[in-house]
């Protein structure tokens, strides 16, 4: 019942495809325009991380199911170098640190939940969720 949409991410063009796909699904799930933009922005950041650091990966969109509320789950996975210190990556201050850093604190603020599983030299899986208000 939970449909799944996958977007392969290889180049910067795919970043736009990924966020537009996410935006469409968010619209279908009943998110407000502002929420849709927040989701699309988070997807853009995650997709760019894949392109910049892992060269390729994919983003998977599914509908989140939980009692009465509905939401969206976005999984960004790659087989890249992995993240050295996940805790640190999530903490780096309030503003995105220029061209360094992964923008993950920002992604966390844009979404409701975030989970990162990463292994050096193996890959990274970032899972984010947002619920319809």
């Amino acid at each position: 019942m939970a449909e799944e949409v996958r977007v392969a991410v290889h180049s910067d063009v795919d970043i736009v495809v990924a966020r537009q796909t996410g935006r469409k699904m968010a619209a279908r799930l009943g998110f407000s325009p502002t929420d849709m933009t927040m989701i699309a922005t988070a997807i853009s950041e995650l997709a760019r991380n894949i392109v910049l650091y892992a060269r390729k990966g994919e983003i998977i969109f599914t509908e989140a199911v939980d009692h009465e509320r509905s939401g969206i789950v976005v999984v960004a996975r790659d087989e890249g170098p992995g993240i050295q210190d996940v805790k640190q990556a999530l903490l780096s201050g309030f503003s995105t640190s220029g061209s360094l850093g992964l923008g993950l604190p920002g992604v966390r603020r844009l979404m409701d939940e975030i989970q990162i599983d990463s292994q050096l030299k193996v890959g990274t899986v970032v899972t984010v969720k947002k619920w319809v208000q």
Partner: protein, 120 residues
């Protein structure tokens, strides 16, 4: 698809029509800087009304554009940021610090005119 850049008197207006890939943004940066030099423009307006997302790369590129334009003695104004986009940008932490912003093209031109008149 390159972004159209129009000359309006002493200013250049770059109107972004649709979602831009990273490569498009870089191309825009080159084009704007080159044209400012070519026309000796005093100001640049980048109209982002059509952008439904402004992520960290887009914001960094716009800041780079403003910085490089300033090195050529001109001002940059970003106009047309949509309310939802502004909200998301702030959540993300990309605030376009140091770059002038205005509501729309009209306001952007007014701002540039005012800057032009100010002494120093």
């Amino acid at each position: 698809m390159p972004v159209p850049i129009l000359k309006q008197g002493p200013y250049l207006i770059a109107s972004i029509q649709s979602a831009l890939s990273d490569a498009d943004l870089v191309q825009l940066r080159h084009a704007v800087v080159e044209q400012v030099g070519k026309f000796r423009s005093r100001g640049v307006i980048v109209d982002v009304t059509a952008l439904d997302v402004m992520d960290s790369f887009a914001c960094r590129t716009l800041r780079d554009i403003a910085h490089m334009i300033r090195l050529r003695g001109a001002q940059t104004v970003i106009v047309g940021i949509q309310p939802e986009v502004a909200f998301s940008m702030v959540q993300l932490g990309s605030t376009l610090e140091g770059v002038a912003t205005a509501l729309d093209l009209e306001e952007g031109l007014a701002w540039l005119d005012q800057r032009d008149m100010e002494p120093g």
